[in-house]
């Protein structure tokens, strides 16, 4: 009994000691650039292979860089708001949400393809929805069940919803409430399964899965590709220059722009992001997204 009691005291002391040690790590954080990304396409690959990217940035910027994986769109925004993430790969909508919650934050870089991004509408072959080529054709989705991807996705929810609006199709005209599958891949699978007649998703995911032969084309087909819009981009916390020295943000942008597919490591990074190259961008490119999001109530 006495020994047991001593053990309890020893454990308490050990816990306090561990607590004290934990405190020491505190201030190194401000010298580390913490980056993250929304879990959009193959987040598992990125999360488990991020060291290529952090090594590259660390090498170019001369600061230590950490990758902090995120499992949900909204927690990426929240962690940007709380300051846990310094630089985040956001979608159009989440980027706008993040900038609204952190005044002074800036869109710094995007991919070559992000200025002309598209969503794809898919439908079951047996649903009676025929392929169409103009936004107006979206009215043919009326009286069919339909699913978006994640609630916060730009290409899987915001822009498809906005184009449906443009065509004059109200969500009430669908059969039942629209679903939110949770991700682009889940949208494909739920339409293949027949749970929903149709769905909308990121063109990149669709093209990648098609190329890999992972889509059952006897069940589902593409019926429409939307007009282009701005989507993914890197958003940086304000005052990065103050923390890491003058001109840091400019060097950051330069580092992204210098990613070159002829270098094998850099090519792998570009491949994770399905990008040919990164280019600079600025907040005004996302004004359209912001007003669409405001219209659909996704930002207040």
């Amino acid at each position: 009994m006495k020994n047991l009691r001593r053990l309890v005291f020893a454990l308490l002391a050990l816990t306090l000691f561990a607590a004290a040690c934990g405190d020491d790590g505190g201030d190194s954080a401000s010298h580390t650039l913490t980056i993250g990304a929304i879990p959009d396409q193959d987040p598992d690959l990125l999360a488990r292979n991020y060291d290529l990217l952090t090594d590259f940035l660390s090498d170019r910027l001369g600061v230590s860089v950490e990758y902090s994986p995120v499992a949900e769109y909204d927690s990426a925004v929240t962690q940007f708001k709380t300051g846990d993430l310094d630089l985040v790969w956001f979608g159009g909508l989440t980027g706008v949400q993040a900038r609204l919650q952190v005044p002074g934050a800036e869109a710094v870089a995007q991919r070559d393809i992000d200025a002309k991004f598209h969503s794809v509408f898919i439908a079951r072959v047996d649903s009676g929805i025929e392929p169409f080529s103009s936004v107006d054709g979206l009215t043919s989705l009326a009286d069919h069940s339909f699913t978006f991807g994640s609630e916060s996705s730009t290409s899987g929810r915001l822009m498809p919803q906005s184009f449906m609006d443009q065509s004059g199709l109200s969500l009430d005209e669908l059969s039942g409430d629209p679903g939110f599958s949770g991700s682009h891949d889940k949208t494909i699978q739920l339409v293949v399964a027949g749970t929903y007649d149709a769905g909308a998703l990121n063109e990149q995911v669709w093209d990648t899965r098609l190329a890999a032969g992972e889509v059952d084309l006897t069940q589902v087909r593409e019926v429409f590709r939307t007009p282009p819009y701005f989507d993914y981009h890197w958003v940086a916390q304000p005052a990065l220059d103050a923390r890491f020295g003058d001109g840091f943000q400019a060097r950051l942008i330069a580092a992204f722009e210098s990613l070159d597919s002829s270098d094998p490591d850099q090519a792998t990074i570009l491949e994770f992001f399905s990008a040919g190259a990164f280019i600079g961008t600025d907040n005004s490119n996302y004004d359209q997204i912001e007003s669409v999001a405001r219209d659909s109530g996704l930002i207040g």
């Binding site: 454990l11 995120v70 499992a71 399964a193």
Partner: protein, 555 residues
């Protein structure tokens, strides 16, 4: 207190009548839920192929070295969250349980004053609030205050579990015969002192054993919490789930199954030993000083104790983060963002969603109850089973093992994953959510019911067995009547839990408060979220009252 002399019926008969009324209430509730969920056009037969491809992937999980290393690391993280969360919940439970105990509120003499009764009731009601909110929602709120910090998961588990533990511990304290507490009070000890010397020593063993049960629940919770980015196995599962890499998912699911299995085994062994300790009192000099202690129990307590600082170190917890300037600022922001509550889509839609949530939970338990009961009898280990001849017991041993593994799988796969899987074969609405929660809860219920079967006194059943009555009849005539009450109590308890769990199956679409919460979180509409959470609290507390009433009538 229990009997009112004015009533003419003798007590046992009145209880029976209570039971029939409750049975009717339950039946009506189930029928109403079925009609609300609809019966036609629910099944989507085209989706079975998709469903089977998920289960086919089970035979070839991704076994690359890198992924296995990740699975191992994250398993340790998950266990650390669960352990520290449980320790926190026991701390909260100890303190909270004392304040919720009837004995500490009751005066020394027999009369309760109105203000005391009010004080006791309102303390109990207040302590019910934290447990009416699911861990995931706590996690969502905490991440706004603490950011990306391991404390998020620890506290998100600790708070609601602490509230449940406090309730259970206060019941332990009140169940311990009150006399030694009263004797100390009358001898001049303060309430707290009398509780420390009078009731706590008797109740603390029960609390410790209950703590091991919570640890087992906490492993599953930690996995679900991974979804909101708290790290651990659930987080990796979520990443693979987003891109629907089934083979990778199974790697993490197997890790979860192993962890849950170990936690289940540890927790049930501790509880079995606690109920009947295996104390081999050594003869000789030691007897006078060292009374018999179960080695296994001591070993369990010590290793759980040792694991606490290790988990702390592994997660790199820093207490100063809990009250840093940033935390205070963010907490202020969250409060400003969340108040005053507003109603996003009108009161009507919130009400409809609340009603759907109740229906979903009712159906979940209705779906789970019978299969769980049947399987509970398969896995229950009865002492007299061993006496049958070798070949039969080998077969039943095998069936038991396979069934246990099956049930373990049911409860190791987090409800959001079940929800997505059921969506392949059921059209969106209440049903897929109910079935998903039903499958998960069947896994939990069968285990709880099996423990009841193992612990109940089966002398009648054995008498019938001796008379040559076949097994099924034996269960129907001897076992079932004895167990029906306890089983129903478990069902009611899981119904309460299922109501809370509806928030994590929002993916099934168009039904329940889970969908509302998802949408509000995405819009960062915290004013609206506050109202939704209040609605959820009201529903949960009402369910709590109803289930308490039913359980009372079953006693």
């Amino acid at each position: 207190m229990t009997s009112s002399p004015a009533h003419a019926l003798p007590v046992p008969l009145r209880r029976r009548r209570d039971r029939w009324v409750w049975a009717l209430v339950v039946l009506v509730a189930v029928l109403w839920s079925i009609s609300r969920a609809g019966v036609s056009g629910v099944l989507n037969q085209r989706g079975f192929g998709q469903l089977s491809s998920f289960f086919r992937a089970a035979i070839q999980p991704e076994l690359s070295g890198d992924l296995l290393r990740i699975a191992l690391d994250e398993s340790i993280t998950t266990v650390s969250y669960a352990l520290l969360g449980t320790v926190l919940s026991i701390g909260i439970g100890l303190v909270g349980g004392v304040f919720m105990a009837e004995s500490i509120w009751s005066p020394i003499t027999r009369r309760w004053s109105l203000s005391r009764r009010f004080g006791w009731r309102s303390t109990r009601a207040l302590m019910a609030i934290p447990r009416s909110i699911h861990e995931v929602v706590w996690g969502l709120l905490l991440i706004n205050v603490l950011g990306n910090d391991p404390w998020v998961a620890v506290i998100a588990i600790g708070i609601p579990f602490g509230s449940v533990t406090a309730k259970v511990f206060s019941e332990f304290l009140d169940e311990v015969h009150n006399d030694s507490y009263k004797a100390l009070r009358i001898g001049g000890a303060s309430r707290l002192q009398a509780l420390l010397f009078g009731s706590m020593p008797e109740a603390s063993g029960d609390l410790l054993s209950y703590g091991f049960y919570r640890l087992e629940c906490a492993i599953r919770s930690a996995a679900v919490l991974g979804v909101i980015g708290a790290g651990g196995l659930g987080f990796q599962l979520q990443l693979s789930f987003t891109s629907l890499d089934y083979n990778e998912m199974w790697t993490f699911l197997y890790a979860l199954i192993i962890l849950s299995g170990l936690a289940d085994w540890w927790s049930s062994s501790v509880r079995r030993r606690h109920a009947s300790p295996n104390t081999q009192v050594a003869e000789g000099a030691g007897v006078a000083r060292q009374p018999g202690r179960d080695r296994f129990l001591s070993w369990s307590a010590i290793s759980a104790g040792l694991a606490v600082p290790l988990s702390w170190w592994w997660l790199d917890l820093s207490p100063s983060n809990l009250w840093s300037a940033r935390t205070q600022r963010l907490f202020g922001d969250l409060v400003t963002d969340s108040f005053p509550p507003t109603i996003t889509n009108g009161f009507g839609s919130l009400f409809t969603a609340s009603v759907d949530t109740v229906a979903m939970a009712v159906l979940a338990i209705a779906v789970a109850f019978l299969p769980a009961t049947g399987l509970a009898f398969v896995i229950a280990r009865r002492s007299h089973d061993q006496s049958t001849d070798g070949s039969a017991s080998l077969a039943s041993e095998g069936a038991r093992f396979v069934t246990r593994l099956f049930l373990l799988t049911l409860r190791a796969i987090p409800p959001p994953v079940w929800a997505f899987l059921t969506l392949f074969v059921l059209f969106p609405g209440i049903w897929p959510g109910a079935v998903a929660l039903g499958i998960y809860n069947a896994g939990v219920m069968a285990r709880l019911q099996a423990e009841v079967v193992e612990n109940h006194d089966d002398s009648k059943g054995r008498a019938l067995e001796a008379a040559g009555v076949p097994r099924v009849s034996r269960i129907a005539y001897a076992t079932a009547p004895q167990l029906a009450g306890r089983f129903s109590a478990i069902g009611m308890y899981r119904w309460e839990v299922a109501i809370r769990e509806t928030v994590v199956v929002g993916v099934v679409g168009a039904a329940g408060l889970g969908r509302v919460v998802d949408e509000q979180v995405v819009r960062f509409d915290y004013d609206g979220l506050t109202s939704t959470l209040i609605a959820l609290m009201i529903v949960t507390i009402a369910a709590d009252q109803i289930s308490a009433g039913l359980r009372r009538s079953l006693r």
